[in-house]
């Protein structure tokens, strides 16, 4: 960013000038405030790592930690490997090869993104459990009794892989389709066959993108609560939840959260590292793209492979959800359903507005006051996407409870006021999803160059009129995208909602959790299918954006 040339500052556009002059650091203060929203919960949680309580720790070390750490380790390893294998192979064949149905699959393979992982999870269990239709049929028809248990480590890994591979697929496919084919051609002109070229050139070149996608998937894995809860697979998120609700121990929850956040920060650091590598690894631009024509056997195998993944990741879960929904729709589609829906809607709308305006403020501040302070503030404010909901719930609750107690001690209020309100929940949502809103807004903000401002000023438009007539119209598309993404994410959000909702504020996701906890798969299907339908919106946005 450049400083404004002197002539522009001196120009008789009093509005902009005095505006800036009167509040020299207003933008900076705004940004620091937004960043502190994220920083406070993180610090609170980190602090409890520094102030360990011996009793809790000895209990944790003896009974929980070894299992939690080994469970988390295997889960991260398994899902990491799974999403990379699935995501990269699908990205490669759809980006570079030609086979029947390729155009269709290249966007359809993103559809599993619309289904929350916990929904795929309960569908899988409902289908494959001992009393599920598949085992029952197998017993009746063939007398098969031996099945690998679905509620196992392998089961969780498989389900999460199917739900999360689109992150790797999406990012890697972009990398392949911009450079994959050409990289292969160079390799071919130097005497390498396409297969060898894939491993020696295309794959190494796409490594930062693959790593970036995998890191996103791993963050989701570490943050996941719903899936592991359904599988009874104990990880840090479920342990935090249990400490909070079953043991009523805020301390134990904080201690666990502080360990989890260390893992998360490691992954976050790795992800930020891969991002900087993506910047300079841009190779070549779009060239003539001739696709590899596979032999007919290979081509049909590719079709079969894509179809199998799509079936397992999307078609089967959605079909099963629809079947279950049909079973119970007469009974469950009632006032209570509308209550859940209504709560979800209000929370999601509020959060979308909140996250949209805070991102706008943050991004605008960076534009008005470019510099180190703003860069650090934006970086901190947008790490929330990596923070698990369970951690945020703890981190947002502790300072609010403290504030409540202070207010009571000072005699301003009689009973806790803030901790039972929507404030904790909305703040936690805001922190978690600020980055989701920030990235489209910020990238659009970068397109409003200094020249746009100067051109407007030379035409006599400045100050608030500049914002209203130039900046906001230019940003409106990205604001809408941002709000939509946050809306959908809040709809699907489970742990923050479960842990911090005021009494009576049950949402669709809470309903899914309660019904699956009771093993009533078909009654969880109605809220779940509603979430899937809403989740389709950003996927459609994504495919439209990509096809442009």
């Amino acid at each position: 960013m450049h400083h404004l040339p002197k002539s522009t500052v001196k120009a008789p556009t009093a509005g902009a000038f005095t505006f800036k002059f009167r509040f020299p650091s207003g933008w900076t203060i705004t940004a620091i405030f937004i960043a502190s929203l994220t920083l406070i919960p993180v610090t609170v949680v980190m602090c409890s790592l520094l102030t360990p309580e011996r009793e809790i720790w000895s209990h944790l070390l003896q009974f929980q930690l070894p299992e939690l750490i080994s469970n988390t380790f295997w889960l991260v390893l398994g899902v990491g490997l799974g999403v990379v294998l699935l995501g990269v192979s699908l990205a490669w064949i759809t980006a570079v090869c030609e086979f029947p149905g390729r155009r269709y699959f290249s966007w359809a393979l993103l559809l599993p993104l619309a289904i929350p992982a916990y929904v795929t999870a309960f569908v899988a269990i409902g289908l494959l459990d001992f009393i599920g239709p598949i085992q029952t049929l197998a017993r009746e028809w063939w007398g098969l009794t031996e099945f690998p248990p679905i509620r196992s480590r392998g089961g969780v890994i498989a389900v999460m892989t199917l739900a999360l591979y689109p992150y790797v697929y999406l990012i890697t496919r972009n990398a392949f389709s911009t450079q994959g084919r050409q990289a292969l051609e160079v390799a071919q002109s130097l005497g390498l066959s396409p297969t060898v070229g894939f491993f020696r050139v295309a794959l190494p070149m796409a490594r930062p993108w693959i790593a970036g996608g995998a890191m996103l998937a791993l963050m989701e894995t570490l943050a996941d609560f719903g899936t592991v809860a359904i599988f009874n697979y104990d990880t840090f998120t479920t342990a935090i939840y249990k400490a909070w609700f079953s043991l009523f121990s805020l301390q134990a929850a904080s201690q666990l959260a502080s360990i989890l956040i260390v893992f998360v920060l490691v992954v976050l650091l790795a992800e930020q590292q891969t991002r900087t590598r993506m910047n300079y690894t841009q190779a070549g631009k779009h060239s003539v793209q001739a696709r590899i024509h596979l032999s007919s056997t290979c081509a049909w195998m590719a079709t079969g492979y894509c179809f199998a993944v799509l079936t397992l990741g999307f078609i089967v879960p959605v079909t099963q959800l629809l079947l279950w929904t049909l079973e119970i729709i007469g009974q469950d589609f009632d006032v209570r359903y509308f209550d859940f829906f209504w709560h979800s809607l209000i929370l999601a709308t509020f959060s979308a507005l909140l996250a949209g305006s805070f991102s706008l403020l943050l991004s605008y501040s960076s534009r008005q006051r470019p510099g180190l302070a703003l860069r650090i503030a934006s970086r901190i404010a947008t790490i929330g996407y990596a923070l698990p909901g369970t951690v945020l719930a703890v981190g947002a609750f502790v300072p609010v409870a403290w504030l409540d107690n202070r207010l009571i001690a000072m005699g301003w209020i009689q009973t806790p006021l803030l901790q039972g309100s929507l404030m904790v929940m909305l703040t936690a949502y805001l922190i978690r999803f600020l980055a989701v809103a920030h990235s489209p807004i910020d990238s659009q903000m970068h397109r409003i160059t200094r020249n746009v401002d100067e051109a407007s000023r030379s035409l006599g438009i400045s100050g608030s009129r500049l914002i209203a007539r130039v900046h906001l119209p230019m940003l409106s598309g990205s604001l809408l995208t941002a709000a939509t993404l946050v809306f959908v994410d809040v709809m699907k959000e489970m742990p923050i909602t479960l842990m911090t909702r005021p009494f009576g504020w049950d949402t669709l996701a809470v309903r899914v959790f309660e019904m699956t906890a009771a093993g009533e798969w078909n009654r969880a299907a109605l809220p779940a299918i509603s979430l899937v339908l809403i989740g389709l919106v950003p996927v459609i946005l994504l495919t439209r954006y990509r096809s442009r």
Binding site: Q182, A183, E185, V186, A187, Q188, S189, L190, G191, L192, S193, P194, G197, V201, P204, M205, R207, Y280, T281, Q282, A283, G284, K285, S287, V288, A290
Partner: protein, 356 residues
């Protein structure tokens, strides 16, 4: 003949991209394909490289058929080097690894020797450990050339190799690359839309339009003896003036009589449709065909002028209203609106039948 294209056609989704294309290149020769964008020149390159199948004709490399309808020898088997427009260097490899990439299967010492040799040739000694993003555009171009030359390819193909560089560098590098290719004895085809580049690089140049080669010739002939109106228009500057055929080697235009008796060149009589007397034709006049001469009785009005350093390009209006271009040494300064004397000095009379 190292490379021969015989009646090559290619169509894609029922759209014809290449039509009945034939040309040949001797070992060590540099050929250029010149044409406006979308004329199919890159497709020719990709067909020769083996990235595109052909639907008709054949391509013969070193006496071996490499492409025919239904058969395309894989690109990696052809030993054809390629330099891409955006260089397509591997961003994850340093310069040494990029250049040595095609030398797989050779012992390390031999490979290192060849890489050093090439880095020396392209003037990049000492940059071996740099990564592509640390190099300037010109340096990246040299790395791409070195990488393509490393495995001693049968043939080197270059697709708009200098289009990403600024004008100064473009001219210098095109001459430099020509020297390198000649020194290595490499046969090459360069695709470009810039005629100066084609003139600087090519021993022979093919002018292409609509997927067809309009003329396959030396630069001199393209300029002075263009085969058709498209070539005359596309290569160099010039205007067409109406003329009347008096007999087989005399044409009259408003500036006077033109004689065409240069042996070894095509005479008017050879040209179709203008054998008969009194036919009207169009005569190509290059800016160097019109010479400024203060003593000449023929006067023309200065309408525009463009200063070019060594000379000035004047646009002149004749009494008839037709315009001609004239290249005049730059110390002959005349104002717009002035009448100046001109005379004809046409070495090659080129005529085309009038479009009807």
């Amino acid at each position: 003949m190292l490379l021969e294209l015989k009646h090559v056609s290619q169509s894609y989704n029922s759209r014809t991209v290449l039509r009945n294309l034939s040309f040949a290149l001797d070992a060590g020769e540099i050929g250029c394909l010149l044409g406006p964008s979308g004329c199919g020149k890159t497709t020719v390159l990709r067909a020769i490289a083996g990235f595109e199948p052909i639907t008709n004709g054949e391509i013969i490399l070193n006496g071996q058929q490499v492409s025919s309808p239904g058969f395309t020898m894989p690109a990696e088997k052809r030993r054809i080097g390629m330099v891409f427009q955006d260089y397509a260097l591997f961003p994850h490899l340093n310069v040494t690894a990029n250049v040595g990439f095609g030398l797989h299967g050779q012992p390390r010492t031999q490979r290192n020797k060849r890489v050093d040799e090439l880095l020396h040739t392209v003037g990049l000694e000492g940059s071996g450990l740099a990564y592509p993003h640390e190099l300037s555009g010109g340096q990246q171009q040299r790395v791409a050339l070195a990488r393509a030359l490393a495995p001693c390819p049968n043939l080197l193909l270059m697709d708009e190799p200098f289009s990403n560089l600024d004008v100064d560098l473009r001219e210098r590098l095109s001459l430099e690359v020509r020297d390198i290719l000649k020194q290595q004895g490499t046969t090459a085809i360069v695709v470009t839309h810039d005629q100066h580049e084609a003139f600087a690089m090519g021993d022979v140049i093919g002018v292409m339009q609509n997927g067809e080669i309009q003329q396959w010739d030396k630069a001199y002939n393209l300029y002075h003896v263009p085969a058709n109106r498209f070539v005359a228009d596309f290569v160099g500057q010039g205007v067409f003036l109406p003329g009347k055929v008096l007999n087989t080697n005399q044409v009259e235009i408003e500036l006077g009589l033109l004689y065409c008796e240069i042996p070894g060149n095509r005479t008017l009589a050879e040209r179709k449709g203008i054998k008969c007397k009194n036919t009207t034709v169009e005569v190509l006049l290059r800016p160097d065909d019109i010479v400024h001469d203060d003593a000449s009785p023929l006067l023309a009005l200065v309408e525009h002028k463009a200063f070019r350093g060594a000379d000035i390009l004047y646009t002149l209006r004749l009494p008839s209203g037709n315009r001609v271009l004239s290249l005049v040494p730059s110390h002959h300064v005349h104002a717009i609106g002035e009448q100046i004397g001109i005379r004809l000095e046409v070495d090659h009379v080129i005529t085309f039948p009038v479009d009807s």
